[in-house]
């Protein structure tokens, strides 16, 4: 526990990835899991910032932790929704084939794309989608 006494504002050393699973990480996982099961998303959108800002992970390591965690987390959600009969398996299979290929393309494009306008455009699109969903209730 002594190494946790590092001030939150100071630079945090290379201890992150070798760290055992502690209460703080467990809490972050549970919060990510709750969001994932409740909303049908991976949960990375909350886990990555918590890992970086609260647990002191570097961005890349946080990204890797979050992606790995999504595997068992999504299995729990799939089983729960699956037993309830809510999964459209054929639709999911078609989407998944595209998504796995697309993720490779996206990762390959990462180095060559201007990130700022992409984030702004994408963010605006999400807000518009949110409004459309709320209006359609």
């Amino acid at each position: 526990m002594t190494e946790r006494a590092v001030p939150a504002s100071g630079p945090i050393a290379e201890r992150e990835t070798r760290r055992p699973l502690d209460v703080q990480l467990g809490a972050i996982g549970v919060v990510g899991g709750l969001l994932s099961g409740l909303l049908g998303v991976g949960g990375g959108v909350i886990m990555v910032p918590l890992l970086v800002l609260w647990a002191g992970y570097r961005q890349r390591e946080a990204h890797a932790m979050s992606l790995g965690a999504i595997i068992p987390i999504s299995v729990a959600g799939i089983l729960t929704f699956g037993i309830a009969g809510e999964v459209r398996w054929l639709d999911a299979a078609a989407l998944a084939v595209g998504a796995v290929v697309g993720a490779r393309l996206g990762a390959g494009l990462l180095a060559r794309v201007e990130e700022r306008p992409l984030k702004i455009a994408f963010g605006c699109f999400l807000v518009a989608a949110a409004i459309a969903m709320a209006v359609h209730v």
Binding site: G37, P72, S74, I78, E86, V100, G102, L109, E115, L126
Partner: protein, 125 residues
Amino acid sequence: MSAALLLLVLAAFGLGTGAAAGLLGVGGGILMVPFLTLAVGLSQHEAEATSLVVVLPTALAASLALRRRGVGDLGLALRFGVVGAVGGLVGALLALALPASALRVVFSLFLALVGVRLVRDGVRT
């Protein structure tokens, strides 16, 4: 729309979603759920359940790619995720207990927050 055409459209949308996820680090689920409810006409619960089935192989493929490049510790991440799976179970049960309209409002709020954060990040960096 015929069934075969729908599957083609879904695969194409999956491609775009996966690419966006790889580019922005925002998972595919956040795009798939609105698409499945607004464009394909699934119920909120069906859309979320189906989205999770797509999130799993995407995260698996990305995790394996990161491991090949030596980023992170997949064993620790998986154990971290097993703890998180408790939250996943509770979250999914909570979603199933909520009426679709309430769940949709909660999802919309979440979507708007993520959208605003992305715009803010884009303006600042």
